[in-house]
């Protein structure tokens, strides 16, 4: 299946943009209402667990975005369809922002809960490395002046960096870490009460909408960038 992006697609994305922005803001406001007003405090952590509602979605989407990034790089190498390269390049920076946000909110949560801002356990360290991988992917592309070459090479780097994703995911199960294991997993019932699951769920949808909105904006940006590079050559 060879998908080619034409002007109709771009027009569609363009026309969807305001709705997506509106939807993102709307869901974020509902999520904020639920997470700050509606949800009860935790029985041990008190109100500081409200940070979880933004920390967990950003960590999820940091991992998910990198998986999509590496996956589309692999698909690009297999199918040679330039669409996958554009997808990878438009999604990378959103993932970097989510990674940074999960690191920052996590460390703000860590101070009242653990008593320290940062510990060098396996989960936190591997997440920091993920942030470096995003930076390496973005800067490597910018640093190589031949852009076709730059895309291929940064894609190769992104695929190598995928080793880190299972390490992040399973670090809390494989090794003793200070970071708690996942509260929500497929195999067992979530260990979060329903009244706290709802705001988390809404915030996750809001973050997903943000990811889609900004990725589509960047998608258009990358396409124009590509066209300008082609005409300048």
């Amino acid at each position: 299946m060879y998908i080619k992006i034409n002007n109709n697609h771009i027009e569609l994305i363009k026309s969807a943009n305001p709705y997506l922005i509106f939807a993102t803001i709307f869901v974020f406001i509902i999520g904020l209402y639920y997470s700050l007003f509606q949800s009860p405090p935790d029985y041990i952590q008190g109100d500081s667990m409200r940070i979880m509602y933004i920390h967990v979605p950003s960590a999820w989407f940091a991992l998910m975005t990198y998986s999509i990034l590496a996956g589309s790089c692999v698909l690009w190498f297999i199918t040679r369809n330039p669409l996958f390269n554009v997808v990878a390049r438009s999604i990378a920076q959103v993932g970097m922002v989510f990674t940074l946000m999960s690191l920052i909110t996590g460390s703000i949560w860590g101070k009242p809960t653990w008593g320290v801002w940062w510990v060098w356990d396996a989960r936190l360290t591997s997440m920091l490395i993920l942030f470096f991988l995003y930076i390496a992917y973005i800067f490597l592309w910018q640093a190589i002046s031949n852009k076709e070459l730059a895309s291929k090479i940064s894609a190769a780097l992104a695929i190598i960096g995928f080793i880190n994703i299972p390490i992040i995911k399973f670090s809390v199960d494989w090794w003793n870490t200070l970071h708690q294991p996942a509260s929500i997993s497929k195999l067992s019932a979530p260990s979060i009460d329903e009244s706290m699951l709802i705001p988390l769920f809404i915030m996750t949808i809001a973050c997903f909408l943000f990811l889609v909105t900004v990725s589509l904006i960047r998608f258009r940006l990358v396409l124009i960038e590509n066209k300008m590079l082609r005409t300048s050559n």
Partner: protein
């Protein structure tokens, strides 16, 4: 053409074998460098760890917490099977409580006690509002720690 395919196949198989051997070596030799803390049972098993700086983690055992003064505390850390006594001087984090997770950093002394210079509260993966805990406890369904 066939020779090219053949050489590629050989290369691929060779690298697959190397990767497999490497992964096996790593898995069988993985030591505790990445482990952030030891449990009491692991520490008691390895007496060569005595006199070293390390981290110990587990639950604060029930009715073991004593404070000598405002800043010197005694408690023991358990993993259900074994206990290690801990002495700590300093400020405890807010979430420190009996029957809750904790990680302490300090020296494992030769007499089997642990002198901590840092206490970190470890949170578990449960998030519950206080009312739910009350009702769960009343109905006897609460099986936390």
């Amino acid at each position: 053409m066939t020779s090219l395919v053949k050489s590629r196949l050989i290369k691929f198989l060779l690298s697959l074998i190397i990767v497999l051997i490497a992964v096996l070596i790593i898995i069988f030799n993985l030591r505790d460098n990445i482990i952030y803390f030891y449990g009491p049972t692991e520490l008691l098993k390895n007496s060569d760890k005595q006199g070293q700086i390390m981290r110990l983690g587990g639950l604060v055992s029930v009715d073991s917490f004593q404070n000598e003064t405002d800043s010197i505390f005694y408690f023991s850390i358990t993993d259900g099977d074994n206990e290690i006594e801990v002495k700590y001087e300093g400020i405890l984090p807010n979430l420190f409580a009996e029957d809750k997770g904790v990680v302490v950093e300090g020296v494992y002394m030769n007499d089997g006690r642990f002198i901590a210079n840092k206490v970190l509260a470890k949170h578990d993966e449960n998030y519950m509002p206080p009312e739910v805990i009350e009702t769960l406890k009343k109905s006897g369904k609460w099986q936390g720690e």
